[in-house]
């Protein structure tokens, strides 16, 4: 059912369609522990409310997806104990559960004690400053050879090769090349199509060719479509 998969989510850990969230989780690119599943349920319920009709197929699919996510998340929270707990006898499992509850109870009691302690000290003020500057550990260098230092410095003192600017220079093709070409052409024909003749040449070559062709033009009329186009 596309309605569920395209459900747009805006969570703390993720923003986008539900479908993408699923594939990220399955590819283990998004830790499920960071995803608030309750927010997804809320988003879906809101989505249903917006639609105003109860789409049973969508609800069914959503239930399946969200419950598998819940199971995955629960398993991810106790990765190494999963197998361990499954093997426990009911009696042992109850013992383990009681042990954990006791552990949490102790944490709660300790938190309570800390709260009382804070209350006792509520009226006590003291100066709190940044941590003092730790003495910087002395850097010890290995014994150095002055000759080696000199050699290293000499290397640095050598003038670097000046960079080449050859690639920046415009390379003009020899003018004579085009002059000869136009002359032989004009000997054979009285008119030719300039664009056709210079097709495939670089801009610089076309420019040189053009300058040569105009010097030949005194003898013959030549027309360039290019020129006419540029005038328009």
């Amino acid at each position: 059912m596309p309605a569920v998969r395209e459900l747009e989510l805006d969570l703390d850990a993720f923003e986008g369609p539900f479908d993408l969230l699923l594939s990220l989780v399955l590819r283990e690119e998004l830790p499920l522990q960071e995803v608030d599943l309750a927010q997804i349920v809320l988003a879906f319920v809101e989505h249903l409310a917006d639609k105003g009709e109860l789409d049973l197929d969508a609800c069914g699919e959503f239930l399946i997806l969200i419950s598998s996510l819940l199971e995955l998340k629960a398993r991810a929270m106790f990765p190494e104990e999963e197998a361990e707990l499954a093997e426990l006898e009911p009696e042992e499992a109850a013992e383990e559960l009681a042990r954990r509850l006791a552990e949490y109870r102790r944490a709660k009691e300790a938190a309570h004690w800390l709260r009382d302690r804070l209350d006792e000290r509520r009226d006590l003020h003291f100066r709190l400053g940044p941590a003092p500057l730790a003495p910087q550990p002395e850097r010890k260098l290995a014994p150095q050879d002055p000759e080696k230092l000199l050699a290293a410095l000499r290397l640095l003192a050598v003038e670097p090769p000046s960079p080449s600017t050859a690639h920046m220079a415009l390379r003009f093709p020899p003018v004579s090349q085009f002059l000869d070409r136009w002359r032989s052409l004009l000997r054979r024909r009285s008119r030719f199509d300039f664009d056709q003749e210079v097709e495939g040449l670089s801009r610089v070559e076309v420019a040189v060719a053009s300058s040569r062709s105009s010097s030949c033009a005194s003898r013959t009329r030549w027309r360039s479509r290019r020129r006419r186009r540029s005038r328009r």
């Binding site: 522990q33 009681a98 300790a110 309570h112 800390l114 804070l118 006590l124 003291f126």
Partner: protein
């Protein structure tokens, strides 16, 4: 020459002198100074420093003045007297402990008793994700990173000296014994069984 004023002795004993030096060190310090550090700075024997500290504690007590010496977070520090608390509160806030939630205190308790612990380990005990809570505690400076589970493992957290300072503990050993806290396993087990019996099969 024999005026009664001579009864007031101006002679300073070595212990007095050491006490004065310690007072000076403590007033400059922004956090508790351990005995060894005081001894090193005063260039005195730790045993003598301990004696001199008793003199300082006598002089700076709740009964005597506005400044009180306390033994906290593995060291010695001055604080304001409780009598001056209202005036202090008008001028100074206590941002670190202000607004600590129940979740934050539980997490702090778990780290203080069982740390260093990684966030998943804390989450296992509390039963919910603790990432946000731990980040908040770290921001307040009450917990800090203390190594990793293994080379590439999760970061472990421990409580900081600031935690001991805020809660007025000489050290983590000053926390009540874990065994004295909460119900024991057997009692909880009994209650679980009662619930299980009531549940329709």
């Amino acid at each position: 020459m024999d005026s009664p004023l001579r009864l007031i002795t101006t002679e300073v004993t070595p212990a007095d002198e050491l006490a004065r030096t310690l007072e000076a060190l403590l007033v400059v310090a922004s956090q508790p100074l351990p005995l060894e550090e005081l001894a090193a700075a005063a260039e005195a024997d730790p045993a003598r420093v301990e004696e001199a500290l008793e003199l300082v504690a006598e002089r700076f007590s709740e009964e005597r003045g506005g400044i009180v010496l306390e033994h906290v977070a593995g060291g010695f520090a001055f604080r304001a007297s409780a009598a001056a608390s209202e005036a202090c509160a008008r001028l100074f806030e206590k941002p670190i402990e202000k607004g600590l939630s129940q979740a934050a205190l539980e997490t702090l308790a778990i780290v203080a008793y069982l740390g260093p612990l990684s966030r998943p380990e804390i989450a296992r005990i509390r039963g919910v994700n603790v990432d946000g809570v731990v980040a908040g505690l770290a921001e307040r400076g009450l917990v800090a990173e203390g190594g990793r589970e293994n080379e590439f493992g999760a970061i472990r957290y421990r409580t900081t000296p600031l935690f001991e300072r805020i809660f007025g503990l000489e050290s983590l050993a000053a926390l009540p014994r874990a065994d004295d806290l909460g119900a024991d396993v057997r009692e909880i087990r009994g209650r679980l069984e009662q619930v299980a019996e009531k549940r329709p099969a």
